[in-house]
């Protein structure tokens, strides 16, 4: 393993060549000099705002109409846990993340990637192009397209009518499902790309050996492919989940979190509190809680990544 020694090179060297204290310090400073602009920038524009956010989450700061804000301790968090709309948003966020990221994007991405391994080149090119187009579309455009697809006189119902099937309006009846589907539509490309790369890394010999041993397609998938791309699955799940947790534009364009608040996930709830009701302190507290949800997911995936096969 190279990593540890590479890391310690940046610090003072504990090695056998002991230098006098002041020279060691001078050398450390000289070495720190080139990175200091970057560090200052990071502190100023990354750590600064984050620290400020954490601070205002503990105040009752409002956007308008307030003479002074004051420090209120954990009041915002207490309000959140007493607020049934907040609890509703947490549930919807979990449903949305589970459906669209873990089940949808992840599984569909893997399925597409493994199907494309076996597909002919033209099929691969076309499928890849279509899926990736959905991914590169700006979020608002994608949101509007799916709004137009799902709405009552939208494309989906035209198609269903043509097939003499009953029509739907999921934007109204099952909005969380509609926005989850939209997120799958938009985000599957990313998983597909990750898994395509991972599948290409599996040495041919191993698959062939399994084939010679008479392992069927499913068994090869379960016993060979999945364990071998385990790390990619972990990475992909983590990136997917974190991205899905913070999806805002897509849902905002499609439903504004409605009807009622049946598709109001945490980012939309946060926006409503902070910018529509101007309670920026409370909104920021909710943002911190969202961060907490995200880090819980990350922890689980990190563990998954660490386990060696």
């Amino acid at each position: 393993m190279k990593a540890p020694s590479a890391r310690s090179a940046g610090r003072t060297e504990p090695g056998p060549r002991r230098l006098p204290g002041h020279r060691r310090l001078a050398r450390s400073l000289a070495r720190a000099l080139p990175v200091s602009p970057a560090v200052v920038l990071m502190l100023l524009f990354l750590a600064g705002p984050i620290g400020y956010c954490a601070y205002i989450a503990f105040t009752d700061l409002q956007l308008t109409g307030q003479a002074h804000e004051s420090f209120v301790g954990f009041e915002n968090f207490r309000t959140a846990f007493d607020d049934e709309d907040f609890i509703n948003a947490v549930w919807l966020t979990l449903v949305f993340t589970f459906l669209s990221s873990i089940v949808g994007q992840n599984t569909l991405g893997l399925a597409l990637a493994s199907l494309m391994q076996r597909a002919s080149k033209p099929v691969r090119t076309i499928t890849g192009a279509v899926v990736i187009t959905a991914w590169v579309l700006p979020e608002v455009v994608a949101g509007f397209l799916l709004y137009a697809f799902f709405r009552r006189d939208g494309t989906l119902n035209e198609v269903l009518d043509l097939l003499h099937l009953p029509s739907q309006n999921w934007l109204y009846t099952l909005p969380i499902l509609a926005v989850s589907f939209a997120n799958v539509w938009r985000g599957t490309a990313f998983s597909m790309l990750v898994y395509s790369a991972a599948l290409n890394e599996i040495p041919k010999e191993i698959t062939e050996a399994a084939e010679v041993d008479g392992a069927s397609g499913w068994r090869r998938m379960w016993h060979i492919t999945l364990p071998m791309i385990r790390r990619s699955i972990g990475t992909n799940l983590m990136l997917n989940t974190l991205q899905t947790l913070s999806v805002f534009g897509l849902i905002w364009v499609m439903t504004r979190g409605g009807p009622g608040n049946r598709s109001q996930t945490l980012p939309l709830f946060m926006y409503e509190q902070a910018f529509q009701k101007s309670m920026i302190g409370y909104g920021t507290a909710v943002a911190l809680l969202l961060l907490l949800v995200g880090s819980l997911f990350s922890l689980v995936y990190m563990r998954l990544l660490r386990t060696e096969v």
Binding site: G65, R152, Y172, K277, S278
Partner: protein, 304 residues
């Protein structure tokens, strides 16, 4: 420097009114007459939407101002904010009655389907689709609608002035002055730190000459704040209805111009949405509104 204003009223489809046997010079005297007209349309012309009242959070300020406030300000004096006490009004019967009106519209299916009403693009669809295609009987909306129908605009519909009639929104029981309207408006201001305030003022002067102001109001279906333009035959004739809406200025109301207003507006939209979807009763929606106004205004409320 005031620039222009707007008013709100009822637009109705003459053809649908004919089919429903309602008069062409229709002017409801109170809320009941308005609802009765909608019920008549529902019965006689079943395939159209009888009455549109904007509602819910997706519509934003449109729902609050064109919707609930047009009702609320017809229930009595200062129904939203008490300027003497300098407090926001909560717990009023007028507010409940206004919500009850919204509930009635959607419960009796006099309004658009709830899924349409809560569509974020409802206002655009009303102007571009429902009204021009003759699918909406009565529409509670703003004076500026024709800007979408002028030649060269998104939904050209020059025939609108023959196909649509106008009526003032009545007060709840027809109490004086009998009609109600809400107005927004725009002003031009020169910041105190402006680099060249004199030139900026000259710019505003040029923009607000009688000729230029007239051109501007005609082009954007605005309502003149210059009395001489308001009397100018060219302005009056430029758009049928402009006189109607200009005259409504006499009985119009303005929203309380305080920093808390946007939050109060959101609370109104939420309470409307609750009774529109039927997720909550009028009482529940009204008490939710009261709570939210209390917290939004730091408790500066007065019970009425």
């Amino acid at each position: 420097m005031p620039d222009g204003t707007d008013t709100r009223g009822l637009w109705f489809d003459r053809d649908i009114f004919k089919k429903a046997g309602l008069p062409q010079d229709w002017q409801p005297k109170n809320w009941d007459e308005l609802l009765d007209a909608a019920r008549t349309i529902k019965k006689k012309v079943p395939d159209v939407v009888p009455l549109n009242v904007y509602t819910g959070k997706p519509g934003g300020e449109t729902s609050a101002m064109q919707g609930l406030e047009m009702l609320l300000y017809g229930t009595g004096e200062n129904p939203l904010y008490d300027p003497k006490a300098k407090k926001w009004v909560v717990g009023s019967q007028g507010f409940k009655d206004s919500l009850k009106f919204v509930e009635t519209v959607y419960k009796e299916k006099l309004g658009p389907d709830v899924e349409d009403a809560l569509d974020p693009n409802m206002a655009t669809r009303v102007r571009g689709d429902f009204l021009p295609k003759g699918k909406l009987g009565i529409n509670l909306d703003g004076s500026w609608l024709p800007q979408d129908w002028l030649p060269g605009s998104g939904h050209e519909w020059p025939e609108w002035s023959k196909e649509l009639g106008l009526a003032a929104m009545p007060t709840q029981h027809g109490q004086a002055p009998g009609k109600v309207s809400m107005s927004g408006g725009w002003t031009w201001a020169i910041p105190s730190k402006a680099g060249n305030p004199d030139l900026a003022f000259k710019f505003i002067e040029t923009m607000q000459t009688k000729e230029n102001a007239k051109k501007w109001y005609v082009a954007n279906s605005g309502i003149s704040v210059r009395a001489d333009v308001a009397k100018d035959p060219e302005y009056v004739k430029a758009q049928p209805g402009i006189k109607f809406f200009t005259d409504l200025v006499a009985s119009t109301h303005y929203r309380p111009a305080f920093p808390a207003y946007p939050k109060v507006s959101t609370a109104m939209q939420e309470s409307m949405e609750l009774v529109t979807t039927g997720d909550g009763s009028v009482d529940k929606a009204a008490s939710g509104y009261d709570d939210e106004v209390k917290s939004a205004t730091d408790g500066k409320v007065i019970e009425k």
